[in-house]
Symmetry: C2
Subunit: 339 residues, 2 copies
């Protein structure tokens, strides 16, 4: 038994135990055949390299009608809302969505990239997580759309995210207009691109209003086993104990902001009278707490919609060639009781 | 070219372009070989029916090292915490987890069952959603573990869930011991098994304390576009407007309980002085609100752990035969400020 380099449609039909007409239908992607038949025929074609490899490859490219989403933490409502929106969009279009949760682990991200590739997804959406995507792990050249991360790949890639820098700007401007003269920014020590952009917006607003920005303006939280809330509470406790004074805090996410409010209350400081606080993300909880939080709201529906539409275009229109498309979706300030 | 019914290891090796030793290693699942080689060899064996079908099938059964999870709503923190726990457990064991989100749609559930089956998952975890699982959609006989649903399949199945009836009992007993004489249960009109069990526990506690249970004790929320919170608020509003009096509410989930608290406050009723309220689930938000909620807490870590361990056993020990295993994990009352 020898592996033929080229075989006829008749031979393929024989090998697959289907009619020649069926093989033809699969090759031309035209008419009725089961997914099983399609797979069998395409596998056989690829194995025996019918015609040229390109044919089998091109046919294969349209094959699975499945997309993959890599997400760092599905328990984060921002991510889960986006995933839900994308999944619904693609279900309507006849695509199944399979999700992998990396728990922010680089190792898991690698494994799941390979897993999704081996499950023959037609494309990938990578939400946040590592800035890099090890596209070399993928066996096929499939389109990738990322959110809130900026990998340095050059092809098949679109980046979509909230306008984080606009958010930082709006938050800081709001504090200034509410009378704050001494505004610190509280942010994570290990910053990903969204955090960096939020800080850029903060600087921009200070500059616009002639308020000096110094390194002392930045207060960093260090990782805390109990998360951002306790980390922020601890950081502000230290600032207050050191005698530091400030009248405004821009916290780069809502859990940090809630920790700030808690720390201020621990020290008998009144929010918003003594210190005003703005968060970022508008998570559900912040409007139910005792002093509802002023924060920056993402346009989550828009993010999901723009991502879905662009990704769908990449999946279905073969000639769409994008080098790197970078789309920023505007955010909005929601003024509540902490300012 | 003819399809052979049986071919030798040598022929398989030739077809796969690997050595006979490699084929042997794959067949005996022993020693080193890449996933690609394994797939190639197994595919070839199956195609040419090496030895008996059973061998290829048995080999194939262990093949993908991927499990599938079907979840109705990943933005629900109870589900996402379970999924996270299961994913982490299986990652440690060398399994990838792929997740499909059905948005509680029966149609989507069917499609995703087929999708996960076609992705060759080794087994399925189905969390909540439809009570039935259309196992006939699956092409292979793979183990299934369900949480919070009770399909009527007889094989390959385990059911794991919180002890919802114990929770309903604890909630109601707590209200009685806090002095409530007239306790209503507020629950959804369309009840799945967890809701039904929670109500059973409520009845059991009433009976134990000699309090009559009547159909009037049950108040049902009707679907509200803004969700359980507004649905519950509306239901309680109607009860209060109709002149109904009560001094305790057992709400069958936390969002319903929060809606109850809001409706009572709309009518100037004091919680817990005029009316005491107990929820169910202990979602994050309930401890941060103005009057932190008394509620029933699931042992989420235990649920994830028991599910993972049992499922792993089903996946790896071929001789585990379970008819239907039904495991209930105890819950706990968390007393806060609404009682």
């Amino acid at each position: 038994m020898k592996i033929a380099n080229q075989i006829s449609m008749k031979e393929i039909a024989k090998l697959c135990d289907v009619s020649v007409a069926t093989v033809s239908r699969v090759i031309n992607n035209n008419g009725r055949f089961s997914e099983e038949t399609r797979k069998k025929v395409l596998d056989t074609i690829e194995k025996y390299q019918y015609n040229t490899n390109t044919v089998a490859k091109a046919l294969r490219m349209k094959k699975s009608n499945t997309i993959g989403i890599i997400v760092p933490d599905i328990s984060n409502e921002f991510f889960s809302t986006i995933v839900h929106g994308v999944e619904s969009f693609f279900f309507e279009k006849g695509f199944s969505t399979i999700i992998c949760n990396t728990g922010k682990s680089k190792e898991k991200e690698k494994v799941y990239l390979k897993t999704l590739d081996s499950k023959m997804v037609d494309g990938l959406i990578c939400i946040s997580g590592q800035e890099e995507i090890e596209a070399s792990l993928l066996s096929r050249n499939i389109p990738i759309v990322t959110m809130d991360r900026r990998p340095k790949m050059t092809n098949n890639l679109a980046i979509i995210e909230s306008d984080h820098s606009q958010g930082g700007y709006l938050a800081t401007k709001h504090l200034i207009e509410k009378g704050c003269k001494n505004i610190i920014i509280l942010t994570k020590k290990n910053r990903l691109s969204p955090d960096i952009d939020r800080m850029e917006g903060y600087k921009e607003a200070l500059t616009e209003y002639g308020i000096p920005f110094t390194l002392q303006s930045i207060v960093e939280t260090t990782d805390h086993p109990k998360g951002n809330f306790e980390a922020a509470r601890e950081a502000i406790r230290q600032e207050l104990e050191s005698g530091r004074t400030f009248d405004g805090v821009f916290a780069t996410n809502d859990w940090i902001a809630l920790g700030v409010v808690k720390a201020l209350s621990d020290f008998g400081k009144k929010v918003p009278d003594d210190v005003k606080v703005v968060g970022f993300d508008d998570i559900t909880i912040v409007k139910y707490i005792e002093t509802p939080l002023t924060t920056i709201r993402h346009d989550v529906e828009k993010l999901a919609e723009v991502t879905s539409k662009l990704f769908y275009q990449l999946l279905t229109e073969k000639d769409v060639l994008i080098k790197q498309k970078h789309i920023k979706i505007p955010v909005e300030l929601i003024a509540r009781k902490t300012t």
